[in-house]
């Protein structure tokens, strides 16, 4: 995927080995949370993308390396009951060409 690609493919793992492809535009400044929400995934995203509620928690399973989380994102993640080394808030992941091939899974809210 070239760095000026206008769309990327990200994958949501709904069950082990079952991945759904989402094609997302790179030129609209969307977050992964917004793209997944628009694709019908059940994400509350209560705070609307401010890294304040933790209801768009995902685990990154594979794909390109991402930018380090900000302090705000880490602060929110650390207050959640379950955190893995690959935990991220999807509202803080911007859709850019370098995201192509990213695989995530939604983390349950009460676990």
């Amino acid at each position: 995927m070239s760095l000026d690609a206008t769309e990327v493919r990200v994958y949501v793992e709904d069950a082990p080995g079952q991945r759904t492809e989402i094609v997302a535009p790179t030129d609209m400044g969307l977050s992964l949370m917004e793209v997944m929400k628009a694709s019908g995934y059940d994400i509350q995203a209560t705070c609307g993308g401010m890294a304040l509620c933790g209801t768009c928690h995902v685990e990154v399973l594979a794909g390109p390396s991402l930018q380090e989380p900000s302090d705000d994102e880490m602060y929110m993640l650390e207050s959640l009951p379950v955190l893995t080394d690959a935990s991220r808030l999807s509202c803080q992941i911007r859709i850019t060409p370098r995201l192509d091939g990213l695989v995530v899974r939604l983390m349950p809210q009460d676990a």
Partner: protein, 337 residues
């Protein structure tokens, strides 16, 4: 237990619920507001009180907390009454078309119309994935919030969490409880630096036990909680005797009992008619983030618009034979009840 009689019961004290009081007040309808949270403001107070909002007409920028304060000032002339910290649990439609609601604490509200302004639902504690946790809820040893610190006097506590709430209660309860153990999954706290420092000092002074890189993984007891298992990230388990386990991982919204009122629900939201934001149950309206309709935008300002139309609809429902004539506040000012 108290009993309240009003024209409209507004469920949800967020910005849209509060503004609904104003719009209903203009029509001289009395309002009672119920919210599961102990304070007004909904998400604005609970999640982002210090964040600026830029899309409220007339305010180039307003802090969420200030908007709530302004709304409270705006509705004061209408003398709304509030039941806070209680969730509407029971719902009954009476023969005369009015409603009887009962809260979790037994407060009874009789009203002629209901406006659900519940946002994404009631905020409920985020629970850790610990087996059998539920069997120790309800006063048997697991508490998701500290309502009365005195309840924990001279008791042995394990608090879990890494946010401000876990830090703040650890500091406060260090002087109240017999023993306080704070369990945190990580090695550092990103809560207020001052609070993290205080917890560290209490730990060094022997007043608080700090268990880092660990989780509470099991709860045990015969009827009431007797001990918990704390497991380190290295897999090493430790049994700790406790009287109470307090997981403090923040709140998450849930639709709650509203989902069982016979309302038409779609994607976890209440379907409404955009004519007046009425639901499929006559006399019940839904406004703000909790409703859905074609073209729905989850914005505060859209909720304000919905509140204005809802009030007209509620007025017509309550007074079907009276004709309402729209009057501008610039002409008549703000009437009082």
């Amino acid at each position: 237990m108290s009993s309240i009689s009003t024209d409209i019961c507004i469920i949800g004290a967020g910005p849209v619920g509060l503004f609904a009081v104003f719009e209903a007040g203009l029509l001289k309808l009395r309002c009672h507001v119920v919210d599961a949270l102990p304070q007004v403001g909904g998400q604005l107070s609970e999640i982002y009180p210090k964040k600026p909002i830029y899309d409220i007409p007339g305010f180039p920028s307003v802090l969420a907390g200030d908007l709530v304060q302004n709304l409270m000032e705006q509705i004061a002339p209408f003398h709304p009454t509030f039941t806070l910290g209680e969730r509407v649990e029971k719902f009954e439609k009476l023969d005369d078309g009015s409603f009887q609601l009962t809260t979790t604490d037994g407060t009874e509200i009789h009203c002629k119309a209901i406006a659900i302004a519940g946002g994404l639902g009631s905020f409920e504690p985020r629970k850790p994935a610990v087996e059998s946790l539920e069997s120790f809820e309800g006063g048997k040893g697991v508490y998701y919030m500290v309502r009365d610190p005195e309840h924990f006097r001279d008791k042995r506590l394990v608090i879990a969490g890494g946010g401000d709430s876990a830090l703040d209660w650890t500091i406060f309860l260090a002087d109240v409880a017999k023993e306080v153990t704070l369990v945190h999954r990580g090695t550092t706290f990103r809560g207020a630096a001052d609070s993290a420092e205080k917890v560290k000092n209490l730990h060094e002074a022997g007043k608080v036990r700090l268990v880092l890189s660990s989780n509470v993984t099991h709860v045990h007891g015969n009827g009431t909680l007797s001990h918990v298992t704390i497991t380190g990230n290295n897999g090493e388990p430790e049994q700790v005797s406790v009287d109470a386990f307090v997981p403090l991982f923040g709140l998450t919204p849930k639709l709650g009992p509203i989902g069982e009122w016979g309302l038409e629900i779609e994607d976890n939201a209440v379907k409404v008619d955009t004519l007046d934001y009425s639901t499929n149950v006559p006399g019940i309206f839904a406004i703000g983030d909790i409703n859905t309709y074609p073209g729905k935008l989850k914005l505060i300002l859209c909720g304000f618009h919905e509140a204005a139309l809802m009030a007209q609809g509620a007025y017509k429902h309550i007074y079907p034979d009276k004709k309402y004539v729209l009057k501008y506040t610039t002409v008549n000012g703000v009437p009082t009840l």
